[in-house]
């Protein structure tokens, strides 16, 4: 049995690899991202996404609009009850009214993704951070240098707290909280940072383990 056929047999339950219409494949080495970037990346699944045409009554509402186009939400739709609550949670954490500004919620998502090494998540949420904060150069330095980067008092305090909370096990401590409070962040603001870091400690582990990023084909 060739190595290729062994691999196909093993992945039979997870994919229709090699069958017509399968979206599962490995990314060629030349198309892997060369590092953290704010450029758009694609994501290639290792578990077969459902086809939009096959979505049942529980799955179809979770895949409306853009969510049904890429493979990620069609993979997660394999457990629609969990995905429905996960999406509702994320909507409130990142778009819910009041509380911490949206730019800093996205900054926390970027910092968590940088900590965990999720190039795909970091690319999406660094773009959001830049769009909302208009601080593209600072965001790029964070991606290039990592969470040890020094930017300004407020962002440094946020980066240090979120990086420590993202660590496994978490090593965030009272000194992080006191520093944020001294800079004027309320408990509501800090709670929003916690929720963003928690959400991406989860999301990074999905994106890093159910597939891999790919640099899109140049037009």
């Amino acid at each position: 049995m060739s190595e290729q056929s062994v691999r196909s047999a093993e992945s039979a339950a997870a994919s229709r690899d090699g069958e017509p219409g399968s979206e599962v494949r490995s990314v060629e080495s030349g198309r892997r991202p060369g590092g953290f970037t704010q450029e758009q990346l694609d994501w290639v699944p290792w578990v077969e996404p459902i086809r939009l045409a096959d979505a049942d009554a529980r799955q179809a509402p979770l895949l409306e609009g853009d969510r049904g186009v890429g493979p990620y939400f069609r993979v997660l739709a394999r457990n629609p009850e969990v995905l429905a609550h996960r999406s509702g949670n994320d909507r409130e954490i990142f778009y819910g009214r009041a509380g911490l500004g949206r730019a800093e919620r996205e900054l926390a998502a970027t910092v968590t993704s940088r900590h965990n090494g999720c190039e795909y998540c970091a690319s999406v949420h660094s773009r959001f951070t830049t769009a909302l904060s208009k601080r593209g150069d600072d965001v790029q330095r964070l991606l290039d240098e990592g969470n040890g980067v020094r930017i300004d008092e407020r962002w440094d305090a946020i980066i240090d707290f979120v990086d420590a909370l993202a660590a496994n096990p978490p090593r965030a401590g009272h000194a992080h909280i006191e520093r944020l409070r001294r800079l004027g962040l309320t408990d509501t603001d800090i709670h929003d940072l916690v929720l963003s870091a928690a959400s991406f400690s989860w999301a990074n582990r999905l994106m890093l383990t159910l597939g891999e990023p790919e640099v899109p084909q140049a037009d």
């Binding site: 578990v47 394999r78 709670h191 582990r205």
Partner: protein, 148 residues
């Protein structure tokens, strides 16, 4: 209303109750994910006791003994020598400590142990959700401690 986060926080829950209620949708959906993971159709397919065992292991590896004790209190342990559970636990440890090191072969190993594509997604969500809970509990504990 008491949810799992409150239950694990115990006496610390009161100090952050008002704060949590500023985002009621998060409170509701966080409990919704927990219920769907352990009691939904996906749990029946993987085996509820295997998911609980995986949650205990992830919480322990993430330095959250109180959360691990919560999961351990939910049910009976799966049989020793269950090869499906062994594959899930191996995967959970990898995804917990070095998620960026996971490869396609790790997903293939779960499939080879007998998990369907649907099951693999349920297991991935379970592992990820426990990490969400660990950070939320750690953050709420730190915020609440400042107001004692």
């Amino acid at each position: 209303m008491t949810d799992v986060i409150d239950a694990v926080l115990g006496e610390r829950a009161e100090g952050v109750r008002e704060l949590r209620q500023q985002r009621p949708a998060v409170v509701a959906h966080t409990q919704g994910v927990y219920d769907a993971l352990l009691d939904g159709p996906g749990a029946a397919s993987v085996g509820r006791e295997r998911l609980i065992a995986a949650a205990v292991a992830v919480a322990e590896l993430a330095g959250a003994p109180e959360l691990a004790a919560h999961y351990a209190g939910l049910g009976t342990a799966p049989a020793q020598g269950d090869p499906v559970l062994a594959a899930i636990l191996r995967h959970a440890a990898l995804v917990t400590s070095t998620p960026a090191a996971a490869t396609r072969a790790d997903i293939d190993a779960l499939a080879a142990a007998g998990l369907s594509a649907d099951d693999i997604v349920t297991v991935a969500q379970l592992i990820g959700f426990v990490h969400f809970q660990v950070r939320l509990l750690a953050g709420l504990t730190l915020i609440g401690a400042g107001h004692e």
